[in-house]
Structures are given as C-alpha cells and as structure tokens.
Symmetry: C2
Subunit: 343 residues, 2 copies
C-alpha cells in the first residue's frame, strides 16, 4: 500500500531517519549504514549506555495525539537515564518494529520528534534496525553518553545525613495519564476552568523535558553522591535508590513541590494532590542526594528551575513526615494507595 | 499464571538474566541495575555499537525448536556485526518485549543461550529492559565492541585490485530455512540419506557461529581494507560493500566454497547449489577485501577455517565468472532467481 512503511522499505526508512536526525556537523560518525557505528569517547572519559522500549498500547496509544511528541518522548526518557548517571548524551540507536501497513506520515512524525530531541541534546542518531512485525509498534532506543572518568553518578552512593534533593515539581504526568484514562482528549471540550491545567498535565505526560544538564553539572562538581531519574514515581524510585545504597530516607511531605496543575485536576479526578505527586510516575525529574557540606552550593545556585530539598537520607526505613511532624511509612503503590497522615 | 513472565515480573527477569550472563569476574561493571551502565574502553581504543531485532514469526518461530539456540543466535548475529568492524565484543544490552503469558521455561532457555554466546565471546550482559506486549516476542540486542583507534574496518575502503576473500562456506543456513519452510522438523522422519545434511543445515540456520575473531585479527594487522558480514546473502551484501566503496567486483563461481550439506539438499529441494550459496542469507561469514601486497599473509595463515579468495574488486559492475570464463551480472534476489551461466 503506498504511503506505508512496507511500501517504502525498512532500510530506506532508517536512512531517512539518519538523514533527519543523524550528526550534521562534519566529520560524520563512522559506520552509519555499516555493520556498526563508532563511539569515540574523549580522552579520560567513560561512556554509559542504556536501552528502553516504548510499546504501543503499553506505553503509549496512537490515539493520544501527535507522533512528533511520541518521538521526542521516546528519546528524552532514554537521555534522562543517561543524564541521571552524570553523563552528557552523545548519540542513540533506534530499533523499530512495526506492521508494514503503518502509515509513513505517522512514522515521519515520530522521526521529526526524535530529531527535535536529538538536536536539543546534541545526541544524533548513529544507526538502527527496522523490521516488520505482526504486532504493535515498538520503539527501542539505546542511548549513550560520555562523562569524565571518576564522576559516574550511581544509585549506590547515598549516605545517612545526605540531603535529599529534587530537580522540579511532581505529579503533572500522572495527572495527565489519569485524564487520558478518564477519556479526556486534548482539544475536545471538557470542564472549562480545568482546561489550562489539563493542557499542562498532558504536555508533561506526552512531551516531557527532563533536566538533562543537571546530572552532568552535579557530577562534575561532586555535588551529588547518588541520583536516579523519576520514571516510576518518587515512592518507588526513592526506594530503589535507598535499596541500592543500603540506607533509608525521610521525606518532608510539605517540601515536595507539587506541579501547579495537579491541585485543580486532583479535585476533579478525586485524587489527593500529595498522593499524585508522591506515587505518580513519568515525571523524569532528577532525585539526588547531597553531602551536608555541599548543600550550600545548591541553595545558592541560580539554576532554573532551582532544585528543592525534600528530606534527608537516614540509616534505614522510608518515611514521610506529614503536617504536624507525624511520620508514616512511605510505600510504593498505585494511585490512591497512598494516604498521607492527617496532621 | 504461575511459571510465566507476567507472574515473575519484568524487573525480576532482567535481574535473573544479568545473574546468568552478566560479568562474572570482579570488578562488576558499574551501573547494572542503575539507570545506565558504564562502558570503559581501554586507553587508545574506540568503541562500536550496533542494534538488531529478532521478532517472532518474522525472524524465528517458537516451533523451530530450542529457545537456547535462539538466545545464542540472537547474540551471535549482533556480535558478528561488531566483529565485522574489526572490534572485539565487550558487552550487550537486551530489550525484550513479550506477552505476560510467555512461559518462563522458554524464556529461561533464551537466557541460557544468551549466556552461552556471552561467555564464548567474553561479552557479558550489561543491562536491559523488559516490557509486556500484546504482540509477538521481540528480542532487541545492542552489542558493543572495542578496537585500537585507527583500525576500524568499514564497508567503504575497498579499492580496485583488492582480492575478495571469504571466511567460510556458504549456503547451509539458506538450505536449513528451505527445509523448515518445506515442513521438515529436526528429529522427525525424513528422507534417510539426507538426514545428516539436514541436521547440518538446520544447525547452521538455528545456531550460527560467526568467526568473531577474524575481523579483529584482520583489522589489527591491516590485512583488510573493507569488510561486511554476510547476513542477507553474498549477492546482496557484496553489492552493499561495493556500493559503499564506489567499486565493482568479479566473483569466480567455482571459487565460492559451498557448504557440503547444500549439494544433497539442493537436489531434494530442487535448487541449484551455487544459487543457494550466492543468494542464501544468514551465513554470518565475513566477506573482506585485501590489498594485493597483503594476500600472501592470508595464503600462508594456519587459521582454521582458512579464508578463501573468491574474486577481486574492480572499477565497477558486479559480475560472476562461471565455468568457461563466461561472465554474467550478479544480481541480488530471492532463491531461484539466480541462474549461473552454463559454461
């Protein structure tokens, strides 16, 4: 069928993608269109790499809107993993499987979005593989980044007494997901006073912009001991960081920055704003721990948005301190499972 | 359902995989179970990376037999791409999508096969991502390798006058595929005298062993100017190498080593052995070009199997010289499309 992936051919589509979001500046990376492509780290630098899949009807629905946003998000969430290690993204590979009947216009939208995110981050497409499939569209991205040797930021380095810091407000993406699940579609009529908040929530979900320069900035200055990007929600990902470091944490509920769109929407959705912020996933903000003696640097920084201190690392246990100082266990769970203590 | 991927959970399966085929020797690579893992090339070395997908019912069928072989093949064909660039494989990432109902025994078989190939090549699993899917099983592998700076072997370097060399015999995997397509199954009754040939053909298709040490050996010694691994058949892949280098080639039909299983099977399958060898895919042998002054080294080598000279690079055009010296154009195409000239 004309205008489909099957008609264009898989090799031709990958060439089109590389033209669109491959490296523009000479010299071009060696090996594009070859069996493999070259990754040359700068002298004294290490590389990190990570792979993530976005599968149709699991991670996205085609009905959710513009493919360009999906392309941006697919790359952005992978680059977020790279940046959370303290590395500066340097390139990516795409593994695409899709039915041959997939419209090229849709796929070219995805490519345009990948190109947007690649240009923004300076991380060009360095190759890939495309194949037919009888199943859903699947976008597999492998991203790499580079960092000076000895500055790698893992989940393992947190120590009791470290401050627990967060790069930005939480909850918007989770609110956006709830809106879509409740049948709300961008551009369609909905409750009038909530339209602005809804647009912000959907944007956060469908077109996230992780703070890619923060991880490398922290790592180069030795400001952070451990870091993780928030893909599965604060409760879950803080648990992972603490588990890897063998420590605990106390989070101050009132210190957690809740995205301004969550309040109005949470009312409408019947959810508690703090619960959405603590349990909601896909914010792609950076959570990191800072040795006490280095926290002054973060308090003084003029970075926008300015990171926020939301608690501290303890010897063990994960607790939330609510209004009035009452502490309750912080447990990972779905929306609504979290009920903060009444102060 | 107990005993399925869904019941075990996706994170747990990736941990199981890494335990099985992650790096065994200390220090373990940093970043496993983190947002990304570290790749540290040796001083003065570059890295190459490549990604490839194997999708159920496109690249394999579960009914074709042991999942362990599938795991080995999935990694081996990616490592073949790495080695064809002259690089020594150093690790891989796995992106798996599969329905939650997938039996764990099958998946553990795949993991065992990945572990076999990883151990053989010294290329451990350095991370991955697993996700549910409503569609077919998809194995996406990204592999990396390392090579001394300046020794990268691409498809672009061939020059007229270079000898055209091949690492081993062709056609067995294609014959194996035809057997499976014709309904032949390993272990089931079939024409008696062909059983041994059929077993060899199926083994070549389902459990290929690319000559991973040849590419790095050629690259370090400066013996090859260009190289490509044969995934889509000699005709197609020679066309790619010549296209990238802006040259042509003349192949001597009688010099092409045809796998010993092809003759008997080709009769049974109604195919011409030379046609199967020239057009058949998935041999994963290495095709490379050697400057005239360096060919003596290859003629003297005691490497097993010994590479074979099958023709030479010309200024333009792809031709096959058949018995009697008659030349016909070499065209990429499916089986049976190739008819060598009658001498």
């Amino acid at each position: 069928m004309p205008g489909t992936l099957g008609a264009l051919g898989e090799d031709a589509w990958i060439r089109r993608l590389v033209r669109r979001c491959g490296a523009q500046a000479p010299p071009p990376p060696l090996g594009i269109g070859d069996d493999a492509s070259r990754l040359r780290p700068r002298a004294g630098h290490d590389l990190v790499w990570t792979t993530d899949l976005l599968v149709e009807d699991v991670h996205f629905r085609r009905s959710w809107g513009e493919p360009r946003r999906l392309g941006r998000k697919a790359l952005a969430v992978n680059l977020s993993d790279v940046a959370a290690m303290g590395a500066v993204p340097c390139g990516f590979l795409l593994g695409l499987s899709a039915p041959g009947s997939l419209p090229l216009t849709w796929l070219d939208g995805v490519a345009a979005g990948l190109a947007d995110a690649a240009r923004r981050a300076g991380a060009p497409c360095l190759g890939g593989d495309t194949t037919g499939s009888s199943g859903p569209v699947s976008l597999g991205i492998t991203a790499a980044g580079s960092l000076p040797r000895g500055t790698l930021l893992t989940r393992r380095g947190a120590r009791p007494g470290d401050g627990l810091w967060l790069s930005g407000p939480l909850g918007a993406a989770a609110a956006g997901l709830r809106l879509l699940e409740a049948g709300f579609r961008p551009g369609r009529p909905g409750p009038r006073p909530l339209q602005r908040a809804a647009r912000a929530a959907l944007l956060a979900l469908l077109d996230p912009r992780p703070p890619l320069d923060l991880g490398p900035w922290l790592a180069r200055r030795g400001l952070a001991r451990a870091a993780i990007d928030l893909s599965d929600g604060l409760a879950t990902d803080l648990g992972r960081l603490c588990g890897a470091s063998g420590v605990g944490a106390r989070v101050d509920l009132e210190a957690i920055p809740v995205h301004r769109c969550v309040g109005p929407l949470a009312d409408w959705l019947g959810d508690d704003p703090a619960g959405v912020a603590v349990q909601g996933g896909e914010d792609y903000e950076l959570l990191f721990t800072v040795p006490r003696g280095r926290e002054a640097v973060l308090r003084r920084t003029r970075r926008v948005p300015r990171p926020v201190r939301i608690g501290e690392i303890t010897r063990g246990g994960l607790v939330v301190r609510g209004p009035g100082g009452r502490e309750t266990p912080l447990e990972a769970g779905g929306f609504g499972h979290f009920r903060p203590a009444e102060g």
